[in-house]
Symmetry: C2
């Protein structure tokens, strides 16, 4: 049975799972979730996910939420993206957790507040504060990538698929690739991976649809 | 060789690892990090952890950061806290990721801003915004715990050890146990686990030391 990913193009967290499914060579299909129309707040959706979040992955009897768990599951199924040694495996998980804790959680929020809220509802102090914290996160990642093609080892892993989650989006959220040369080069490495697709090409839904 | 945990009592993220080490029955000792004196921003500390964060776990040749990775490592060593079946294992990881993404990352920040910054430097709008998001997170956890003693299955797991990370602290950060009856009961289950200790008893350093 084809794996289903409940998602929308705007979600960088969904993109992390979608990109792992796609580059992992699994058979999968996206199921569009009308997040902006309130679908994740309905009782029906809460039955699938008490956390009320996108993405949700359904593979036969298995239902998963949290992109990090989906990436671990895709690694179990394909043997890909998990790291080659126990040391690499831990290092991959370290960056996946760091991304969830410090990078994607904050980028996703900054981008939402700056682009998807009505202009008069955008909390300026929160946006400035979040961007300050994000600058520290970009610096950690940029420093780590100096002299490296990939975050861990010599191939693409879940660490890369997680940390890049929000960094290909065109909407302004205070991140300019040219300001972070090692991140910029690393993102190009991901874009040049055979089968790579931009989030708006990999999943249904984009701001253009609502324009 | 005794496992070392670089930590301080104020860090709920360090507490997650310390509590797993303690309840897992491993031989370990805390190494105090003078976070409030700026130690994590020194080049020496950055050499241990480019992310500049506490905790850091050192076990012989293995150095780990990110509490979620430490918990996975302690589970590997002890066979404890990881869940009993593949389904439980995924469910445990789901809640650990959710905690890192939605709960501890925000509780830790709210508590820091409200208690450890000078009064005239506390960003009121950021605090109010974060508390609003936290209310949604507490509600998800409280709803899930209705009718359950533990987050996953019938015993304490890393899901519990992660989500409780900041919830025993006495400093005000907008969380009152009595407002969330299922969370309150679950925290009592953790407190009643043989060997349980409060963060300020398990690790060196507390606001009282700096008073």
């Amino acid at each position: 049975m084809t794996t289903k990913l409940y998602c929308m193009g705007e979600s960088g967290n969904a993109y992390k799972a979608a990109l792992a499914l796609e580059l992992g060579g699994l058979e999968w299909e996206p199921v569009y979730v009308d997040f902006f129309g309130g679908e994740t707040r309905t009782p029906e959706f809460r039955k699938i996910n008490v956390m009320g979040e996108v993405p949700v992955l359904v593979d036969g009897d298995t239902t998963l939420t949290q992109s990090g768990v989906m990436q671990m599951y895709i690694t179990e199924k394909t043997g890909k993206f998990g790291g080659k040694t126990p040391e690499e495996q831990r290092e991959v998980m370290r960056w996946v957790f760091w991304d969830n804790h410090k990078l994607s959680s904050q980028v996703g929020m900054a981008r939402f507040l700056m682009n998807f809220l009505p202009e008069d509802k955008r909390p300026a102090e929160v946006i400035a504060f979040t961007q300050g914290r994000l600058k520290a996160a970009y610096a950690s990642l940029n420093d780590h990538l100096e002299g490296r093609d990939w975050i861990v080892g010599d191939a693409i892993t879940n660490a890369d698929l997680s940390c890049c989650g929000y960094l290909f989006y065109p909407e302004p959220f205070g991140f300019e690739r040219k300001d972070w040369p090692h991140i910029d080069r690393w993102l190009s490495n991901i874009e040049n991976t055979p089968g790579w697709k931009h989030p708006y090409d990999l999943m249904p839904g984009s701001p253009a649809d609502r324009a």
